[in-house]
Symmetry: C2
Subunit: 614 residues, 2 copies
Amino acid sequence: MLRRLKQILIGSPLETAALPEQRLGKLGALPILASDNLSSAAYATEEMLLAIAAGASVGLLLPPFYSIPLALAIGLLTLIVAISYGQTLHAYPTGGGAYTVAKENLGVAPALVAGSALLIDYVLTVSVSVAAGIAAITSAVPSLYDHRVGLSVLGVVLILFANLRGVRENAAVFAPPVYFFVISIYLLIGSALVRYFMGDVVAAPPPPAAPQMTWNFALIFLVLRSFASGCTAITGIEAVANGVRIFRPPASRNAAMTLYMMAAFLGTMFVGITVVCYLYGIQPISDGSETMLSQLGRTVFGTGPIYYAIQGATMAILILAANTSFADFPRLASVMAQDRFMPRQLANLGDRLVFSNGIVLLAVAASALIAIFDAQTHKLLPLYLVGVFTAITLSQAGMVIHWKRSREPGRGHRAVVNAVGAVLTGLVLIVIATVKFTHGAWIVIAAIPLLALACRRVRDHYYVVGRELSLMDYEKPEELRHTAVVPVPATPNKMVLAAIEYARSISKDVIAIHINRDGIDHEQLQQQWHNWTPDVPLVVLDSPYRAITQPLMRFIDEIHNWRDEDVVTVVIPEFVTGRWWHHFLHNQTTAFLKVALLFKPHVVVTSVPHHLRR
Amino acid sequence: MLRRLKQILIGSPLETAALPEQRLGKLGALPILASDNLSSAAYATEEMLLAIAAGASVGLLLPPFYSIPLALAIGLLTLIVAISYGQTLHAYPTGGGAYTVAKENLGVAPALVAGSALLIDYVLTVSVSVAAGIAAITSAVPSLYDHRVGLSVLGVVLILFANLRGVRENAAVFAPPVYFFVISIYLLIGSALVRYFMGDVVAAPPPPAAPQMTWNFALIFLVLRSFASGCTAITGIEAVANGVRIFRPPASRNAAMTLYMMAAFLGTMFVGITVVCYLYGIQPISDGSETMLSQLGRTVFGTGPIYYAIQGATMAILILAANTSFADFPRLASVMAQDRFMPRQLANLGDRLVFSNGIVLLAVAASALIAIFDAQTHKLLPLYLVGVFTAITLSQAGMVIHWKRSREPGRGHRAVVNAVGAVLTGLVLIVIATVKFTHGAWIVIAAIPLLALACRRVRDHYYVVGRELSLMDYEKPEELRHTAVVPVPATPNKMVLAAIEYARSISKDVIAIHINRDGIDHEQLQQQWHNWTPDVPLVVLDSPYRAITQPLMRFIDEIHNWRDEDVVTVVIPEFVTGRWWHHFLHNQTTAFLKVALLFKPHVVVTSVPHHLRR
């Protein structure tokens, strides 16, 4: 029944042989890999203006007009990073995520830092995007605001199942909303500009004129913080480089084209929204109850069908942005697992040829973050950027080394491009880590090295295990001799006699053991058993404190002392009940025994099940 | 380390031989068995007046003076029930709870109803008493009111550990607060009366005169409801009869004396508090933020040290009242488990000679109720009385039958006493079930038969199992033949070779099986293995959908078809890691396999552990 349910939700298993077909073209891959990046248009402007507004609340006034040069600077940065990443795609046609590039050029430690930063970032992407998507809905329908955590988790679960079904089906499901979002944002910007310049719409009155600005340290800090907040627009840009594998050949070329398309879409949408918001005097609402995009939509189109369509599209792309991470997190985790830095389960393909374990792990972690941060985007965002820019910076720095070592023509010029990217994103990283430190960035700054260290210890463990199991110095052992021990109750019954029969079939030395908790007379016990098993000696161990495990353990030690080389097989008769609740009606002693025995060397545990007919 | 912690919290294990010593005298047993009953003095008056006040809010006015005759009636009922129970003690010197009396005289079904009612009642006692005890504290320190659920659960946990340590230590810990409570209530009543009649204290103005009363159905219903609410005073009276076993001999005599002392204490305290509250015009506060006892204390003594001492004593005895249930619930559950109506684990004595499983079960259930009902006494109390009076009524009715069958002198007169008790408590039960039905009593009215039915099904299960395991028709089987199957990975390693060596030592037919998920060439696999295990055939099962369990299951079916009578032993090599987190670094396939194989008939599962050195 469970299998049937799984089949309905996830689909029938796919053969391993079907693997190579699951590849996508440019327009098919864009929605999957770009939705994270494109969707930041929905909140990047708001984040930037919120930082400016936060300054105003402590008396630091930055005229709203400053949002426009800041947006242009961020747009330029997007362009530089895209070009910089474009080079990576050509150098690493099989997929050049920050982890791979750092590993090949910078060494293991930077690679683990980059990998950890990316994994944390993917989890945050899911949390932030889903929370922001739900915010688009609660802006339109304020009565849902109190249910945002539940709705967000529901969103994560829906994406989880879509992803467990497999990649290709994603493209079919997810392409329409992404393109619809892009078109509707352009429509919004276009209409707003047209109506503004035609004087159709009475723009909101400009905010009161700021007093004379004096440039001081605090104000520079505020500008940097606004810039850092606006850099959320760049997030997700590395997704294409990590996901080259899902492109149809020629993979690098297709990936690069997709990357440039994405950067162009994002840059124009972000700058456009910022300009239009400035023209219409739209400001963020501090309690987060309505997004700026929602205000803009209402102002330009009124609260009508077009407004609702835009809100729907925004929610849809934000929910799908989370999907980018669902494509990339499991893939990166599996690459790291193949390098033995992650538990090997993460490298296993699931029924539908996706890395199911990684997908589930991501969904669980993201849901936890949503619950902890109350599904509030502005609480999650400060955590977000550190991981992104750590990975981008390391990736670009790795590329500089790559070109230095390479013999390709034009490597000098390429190294310069990547060096510019690395320096710029490195500077942005320092700014972000500084200005956002107390707002939550410290959590990620602490988490990245911890996770990297954990990865290292995982590999150490696998290395030790591999050496221990290696057959280098293997000598075939002499034939095993063993003693079988059967714990028995005070009076014989069918189940226990079956276990004793089994024990006799595997060993010549069978000992029945009764742990005497109730102070029963030994003579009487011996008689009761002798009738049924005359050839099996019964050992009675008194247990005045009613313990079960300790006396048995001591007895096994004695056997080991006595017959040096022997393996002791403990044969445990066990009930298998027909209904689940019957299980609770039988002593769980066997379960405790099995766990305790598992940790004892030279002991093998055998369960002889008795299947109850009813 | 875990064992060390357990020893600190619970104490060293006690020998079974130490059991008979853990018995108590009258003054030692009273705090343990009577605190439930005595503590009801802390809230019974308030419950009664709350019911009257609830009538006033819908226009049904009952003059406050009516509380006095109602209290006297309840006091009289207490006396009758105590005398009635006193007879039970003599007839059942080894402990005559409602369950035992009903089973011996009325049959299994009434016994299960009585037993279920009592078990539910004990859980409610813990919840109600702890919640009321915490209310005494939050009355004195209102800022704690919002933390009442957490504080209540903490209280339950403290009592849990006290009880896991054992009975005798309880008496030492718990006697002082109970006697201190009784003395301080008498002091409170006495001081209040003295100061009232000396005119020391200006009593609150009497409430506005009620209009002319007209007796109608609604008003009678109100009187009955107030009476029913006041009957909470009687709760806990059956504890002595259930707990005769813990008395030092002569047990029945000691128990009876304790019972009468308890009834006398309770009756005088309850009537006294009701009278004094009437004289001082103290009314319940509807939001439950301050108890009447707290108001009375403040009025008589002012908010000073004496007031705080009384509140402390009230809290202490209420917390300890819960303890009565911790003494009785596990004992009743173990009696029922010995009769096979409850899971047999509940009949096991723990390390400290108490029924630890029952104690833990009670604590968990009571904490759940506290959380569900938000630690509010007045929400829990309507659930409470149905169970109590069901048990009392059945117990008294059983005693009537007992005397009818008995040949003792004076049996006629004794039967009459019990009959009066049965009829009175039966009437009270009907009143309670009717007037409190919609307030929550329906939950218990539904739960009692369901639990009784479950008990019945538990015994049916044990009966079926007992018959199935019985050796009546046992025939010694022929010698078992078996095939050992070892699932192996693609490449040999030390751990797997050890499992194969073990398999060879228990069977002549050993088959290695590789589930081929990665489409490896069969020829290559055979070669890799042949070098290491030339005498063990390797069977390769292709698994294009990457499943593990199904191919193995199908193969076992084939063996069963092929070698009819054989047992198949599946030998599973298993990692035992040194650190707990290492466990997650290895595939959990073995765990899944073991569960799946457990449900397959004629299959024995053997784990051959490999203990990692690091």
